[in-house]
Subunit: 165 residues, 2 copies
DNA sequence: CGCATTCTTTTGACTGAATCAAAAGAAGGG
DNA sequence: CCCTTCTTTTGATTCAGTCAAAAGAATGCG
């Protein structure tokens, strides 16, 4: 579903992304970035699985470290939908939100429909100073709608990336 | 900050709330409802602590069971801000959202500023059917703003309920 | 190019939050 | 008042993630 070229390009700029953030370029970091580019909204475990192929022997802890470093340095964004382990994506710095499937947990991006929308600036804030508004939509993904219509088609695994248009 | 009468009243309707939902009226359930009425946005552990006083000997598991039952039957709402254990509130059925303090984790309610706002209906939904939009605001609560100005005032414990106006 | 310093990774123990399951105990209908 | 069914207790177990020490790599510098 994704051209070969895109994946290779990602491989190349992993290094410059890391250098740009003042982080050392290491194999686990490069591999994590490549994995996230190929599979947006992957969990730490998804990344670990993906990397086990490209870079066998990488520890689970390294994956947690790398994902944490990427998030801390603005190279990745962490999202934590209720009931799901944390997920990560390289798309950062733009104002976008997420739809989560309540039945399989699949996540897709949604561009903010109305920019800096009025409803995202609440009226009385109980004394809080607001930094950002996070919107999570809950619904049913295309695959699960399908399954609901035609029950009993068996399990429906890795629904993590498919949803991204 | 809350009148005695309110707490007693809550005690009374715990039973009818439960019966209305077809649930048996038990001491742990009543106690959990009373605790949630007194402390909105409490975590399971907060509730457990609170109940340890009113109803010693109640198990932690019972608290999880009750909170789960309340949520499943629409008597309570579960919210799960990133980085925090699940929190529960009795305020259900209205369209309101939450502000979470990024430094102490305090949670406060926010009424949806624009009702069923336009920005809560995204344009292209990647094939999802949307059920609901959940908005979480992130910011700094009044207490933590204070602490930031006057550093070194020591720790700042139970900030769970204080924020509710 | 090679070395020293500093940052990363590995390994393995450990925590917090929550769930599962079996047995004992209480609520409510008759 | 008893019986059935639902709840609670107890204790083990899982999942996701963190902590810490020791071993190993990446960069800067000579």
């Amino acid at each position: 579903m994704r051209t070969h070229a895109v994946v290779e390009a990602t491989q190349v700029d992993a290094a410059s992304l890391l250098r740009g953030a003042g982080l050392r370029v290491t194999k686990p970091r490069t591999a994590v970035i490549v994995a996230l580019a190929a599979t947006p909204h992957a969990s730490a475990d998804d990344v670990f699985q993906a990397i086990a192929i490209a870079l066998p022997g990488t520890s689970r802890q390294a994956v947690y470290n790398v994902l944490g470093d990427l998030a801390d340095n603005g190279l990745a964004q962490r999202i934590e939908p209720a009931g799901s382990p944390a997920r990560y994506e390289l798309r950062v710095g733009d104002n976008h939100h997420h739809i989560v499937c309540t039945s399989c947990g699949a996540v897709a991006d949604v561009d903010c429909a109305v920019g800096h929308a009025p409803c995202l600036t609440p009226h009385h804030t109980a004394g809080f100073v607001i930094d950002e508004a996070e919107v999570t939509y809950w619904g049913t993904c295309a695959d699960c709608q399908q399954l609901a219509r035609v029950p009993d088609s068996s399990s429906h695994a890795s629904a993590i990336q498919g949803e991204t248009p």
